[in-house]
Amino acid sequence: MSESETVLSFDAVHTYYGQSHILRGVSFRLARGECVSLMGRNGMGKSTTLRTAMGLVPPVRGQVAHFGVGANGRPSYKSANAGIAFVPEGRGIFPNLTVRENLMVAARPGREGRTDWTLERVLALFPRLAERIDNWGNNLSGGEQQMLTIGRALMTNPSVLLLDEATEGLAPLIREEIWRVLGEIKATGIACLVVDKNVKRLVEICDRHLLLVKGELVFDGNGEDLMADQDFLHRHLGV
């Protein structure tokens, strides 16, 4: 893998929340267009990894890089402008903006001026949002809010999408719709780092898998190798 193809990299990254040591020397690479899952039980550092990648949490040691450029201490708005989009857990929609405004508030061309994602295309991907275009953000169901957060991230024409628990707390049918959309997004060539609890779906969709245990990566490989050791999976994921 050549350096220019790496869109996001962690090199021995350590992160703290106050006194607690969350990430303990995490290293991995995300290549252009690659879809990678990040698994682990609760409290193992999955969200912190995404937040560190975004610049919302500063790494204390080690190196985070976006497109081969050092990004330690880079404020999150610069990460976003560099092409990294974040879909946080709990969604973080703007309740006092309409669906259209939520989508337009940060809309812009991506790297090299790409404008693949327009309002029309996002609405075509999520027909339910088109039906509710003039509703306030807080009038949406949980599933619609999740679609809105993903749509809002796509409107920034990102090269990398960080998804934190995108299907958490949603009805089964809505979950399936989110997985379908993830598949479509992946097909457009956006690199994804996906945190989720559904190992089966992650193995179907993602090219590679990372497994975090107490802030350390214990697995970095393909789905076949991951599924081969059922004991290992059971110990670290409870499946």
Partner: protein, 303 residues
């Protein structure tokens, strides 16, 4: 009570309400978006009023004073944000109150040094020196109508910016979730500095516009500050619409309340209690009643 007097009071109330809205809208967005209680907000009104006085004396016209005063006020707002307010984000309200109260003292001392402590009046522009006759004996000053019209236009512009532009979307998004708007690629430092500067410029602009109608004297900043906080609390913190409704309520209450109370002038009140005392009480009684009904204000979001 005769109808013309009521009409005059109604016009006064609307005009005062619109002026209050200009001041309070800045206070409410700074409070609502950045979480900063800016006690020095009234000082910008004071600065605006004194700028009106000295710039009108220098240039000969309030219009030149407006043209020069607004950018000066915007720069002053930006300077205060960069030097002081920037350190207050994410700090508790006590520290904000202490620092911005300190700023009031500094502003007042500066006013005393630069402009002195005598009250001043600012001449109205010649072509607005007339009054519009309402009856044979009563009339309404044209400048007050001009003032109301300008405030109304500014309120419209503000509504348009906040509701219809990208900047407005970002301001509203920043008020509900600043971390998320930052993670979407918006530099909140620039956004906050812009919002603060716009807010304080509106206050200064209100001071500039009101100077020919009211006189310019020490302590006017604090006077409008307190009533602006009442407006913000009634309307709901962070709500522009709330600031508008609250300001109109206070404006009308202030002028009509006095008129209505004066109608009962011959009624024996407790000794030492004047109609003016009662008028100022009605405003706070209104606030208390609204808070009992809606603790977060009329358009506030409960936390």
């Amino acid at each position: 009570m005769d109808l013309t007097l009521l009409l005059i009071q109604l016009l006064n109330g609307v005009q005062y309400g619109l002026l209050l809205f200009l001041i309070a809208s800045g206070l409410t967005i700074v409070f609502g978006i950045m979480g900063v209680i800016n006690l020095a907000h009234g000082s910008f009104y004071m600065v605006g009023a004194y700028l009106a006085w000295s710039l009108t004396a220098w240039t000969g016209s309030i219009f030149w004073a407006l043209l020069l005063g607004v950018p000066l006020a915007a720069m002053l707002g930006l300077l205060v944000e960069r030097l002081f307010i920037v350190h207050l984000y994410n700090r508790d309200h006590l520290q904000q109150v202490l620092l911005t109260f300190g700023l009031i003292l500094i502003f007042n001392e500066m006013q005393s040094i630069i402009w002195g402590d005598d009250p001043h009046s600012v001449p109205k522009p010649d072509f607005l020196q007339f009054s519009i006759p309402l009856t044979e004996v009563q009339s309404y000053p044209a400048y007050n109508l001009f003032l109301a019209a300008v405030c109304l236009v500014l309120a419209g512009v503000m509504y348009w910016v906040v509701q219809k532009t990208r900047l407005g979307m970002r301001i509203r998004a920043g008020s509900s979730n600043p971390e998320m708007i930052q993670a979407l690629g918006i530099n909140t430092k620039v956004l906050f500095a812009t919002v603060f500067s716009i807010g304080t410029t509106m206050a200064a602009l209100a001071g500039l516009l009101a100077a020919p109608e009211r006189s310019v004297y020490p302590g006017i900043g604090e006077q409008v500050l307190i009533i602006s906080f009442v407006v913000v609390v009634i309307g709901g913190i962070g709500s522009i619409k709330g600031a508008f409704v609250g300001a109109m309520m206070i404006g009308l209450m202030d002028s009509l309340g006095a008129t209505i109370l004066r109608a009962f002038d011959d009624v024996e009140l407790m000794s030492g209690l004047s109609v003016d005392n009662l008028t100022s009480v009605t405003v706070y009684a209104l606030m208390a009643a609204i808070l009992l009904w809606r603790p977060a204000g009329l358009y506030g979001r409960a936390h």
